[in-house]
């Protein structure tokens, strides 16, 4: 049986850890709330964008357009959004697994654009081709950051360096449920079911400039808004995941502490009993 001092030392160290996890939980709760409102605000922009692009695509039909047909290159670009820090449960590794365990993808075909240093480390370690990445954006994503990323990707796409573009991020469903998601950005796939809503869907939409030219200009904006939306959701998910992980850690620590307290008290009682027995035995021996 461990000595009283050992138990006490261990208990203190766990209490210290618990304080840290508790603080981290509080911090990520606050950050989560902020990230969540931001994500919700950007949703509206994205929804409008999505509806418009869908309605254009439906009208244009199957037209030969560089954004609608896969490029010649075999290379696929994947944007992977992870956090800069760990201690968020499976948050980072779940997104990474989407790419590393994809049944059809091989390491050679992929170019990984990482946002977030955790992802960058993993993909470099696994020998993937990792391209330009910016780790600071995940702290507080701005729309211009998303513009920078999409500009770069669209350029390599236009130059024929990459044939397809994917986006791996963690979608934020609610505080407790975050779903790692893989999205195809380019070529844009025309969704079969109608994403139309009540609003003026029946009216015939005209385009100025003409459809195909409009596609040229709208699709980059569409890609940007997707990246931006994904960034916002990823930030919210990261904080949500960290909050949960830290909550679990705190309650685990609580459990360990109460266990150790019990052990400590037993040890103390044991030692008192032993001392008493010794004194009485000593007294009897003299007397």
């Amino acid at each position: 049986m461990a000595s009283m001092r050992d138990i006490k030392r261990r208990k203190n160290s766990i209490q210290g850890t618990q304080q840290i996890t508790k603080a981290m939980k509080l911090v990520s709760t606050v950050k989560l709330q902020r990230a969540r409102t931001n994500a919700e605000r950007s949703k509206e922009y994205f929804n409008c964008m999505y509806d418009t692009v869908n309605s254009i695509l439906k009208r244009v039909g199957h037209v030969e357009h560089r954004y609608l047909t896969p490029g010649d290159s075999q290379k696929k670009a994947v944007i992977v959004i992870t956090g800069n820090r760990g201690l968020a449960g499976g948050y980072n590794s779940n997104v990474e697994k989407l790419v590393t365990r994809h049944p059809e993808w091989t390491r050679e075909d992929l170019v990984v654009y990482t946002i977030g240093s955790k992802g960058r480390e993993t993909f470099l370690r696994h020998g993937y081709e990792v391209k330009a990445c910016n780790n600071d954006i995940v702290e507080s994503p701005a729309y211009t950051d998303a513009m920078g990323v999409s500009e770069e990707l669209l350029k390599s796409y236009a130059d024929g360096e990459i044939g397809e573009i994917y986006l791996a991020y963690t979608a934020f469903k609610n505080t407790v449920s975050h779903v790692p998601t893989l999205l195809k950005l380019l070529p844009v796939e025309i969704s079969g079911e109608s994403g139309e809503k009540e609003s003026g869907a029946s009216a015939i939409m005209n385009f100025e400039p003409e459809d195909v030219e409009a596609l040229d200009m709208i699709i980059p904006k569409y890609v940007t808004s997707l990246i931006y939306g994904a960034l916002m959701e990823a930030v919210a998910s990261e904080n949500g995941a960290r909050m949960q992980a830290m909550d679990n850690a705190t309650s685990n620590a609580e459990e360990m502490i109460s266990d150790l307290t019990l052990k400590y008290n037993r040890a103390r009682q044991g030692s008192i009993t032993q001392e008493l027995t010794e004194i009485i035995a000593g007294a009897e021996a003299i007397g």
């Binding site: 729309y143 609003s199 200009m217 709208i218």
Partner: protein, 134 residues
């Protein structure tokens, strides 16, 4: 509020709902030229070019600098998806002036490595900012 003389104008940016109100008319720049929208316009989607956005409200006029995005025009509703848009009070005049001079300089120099299209957009943007302030 709603009558046949007005329509709902919504300006949405990725970060916020920039503006939402019943208005009488809205004017802005598109790739095809300037456009003024009154209630009952035919459905139309246009691409925005940097310029001034002029909103005519029942109570008066409002101006903003609109830089990029596109607009969906319906008879009873106009939605502008703006990537970048600013109220005059959010514009830093000195910076806009500096940007304008820089862009003009780049256009003049005509060095082969300058991206002309980019410099031109930058110039338009700076001009729009300055005009919005006036």
């Amino acid at each position: 509020m709603a009558d046949s003389n007005s329509f709902l104008l919504r300006i949405i940016t990725p970060e916020r709902l920039f503006y939402e109100n019943q208005v009488n008319m809205v004017e802005f720049n598109t790739t095809e030229g300037e456009i003024g929208v009154l209630p009952g316009h035919v459905p139309l989607t246009v691409i925005v070019k940097p310029g001034i956005l002029d909103i005519t409200e029942p109570e008066g006029d409002k101006v903003a600098a609109l830089h990029a995005g596109f607009a969906e025009i319906l008879p009873e509703r106009v939605t502008i998806l703006a990537e970048v848009i600013e109220w005059p009070e959010e514009i830093d005049e000195e910076r806009a002036q500096a940007a304008r001079e820089r862009a003009e300089e780049r256009l003049r120099s005509k060095a082969s490595e300058t991206d002309l299209a980019r410099a031109e957009t930058a110039l338009q943007r700076a001009v729009a900012r300055i005009q919005a302030l006036r």
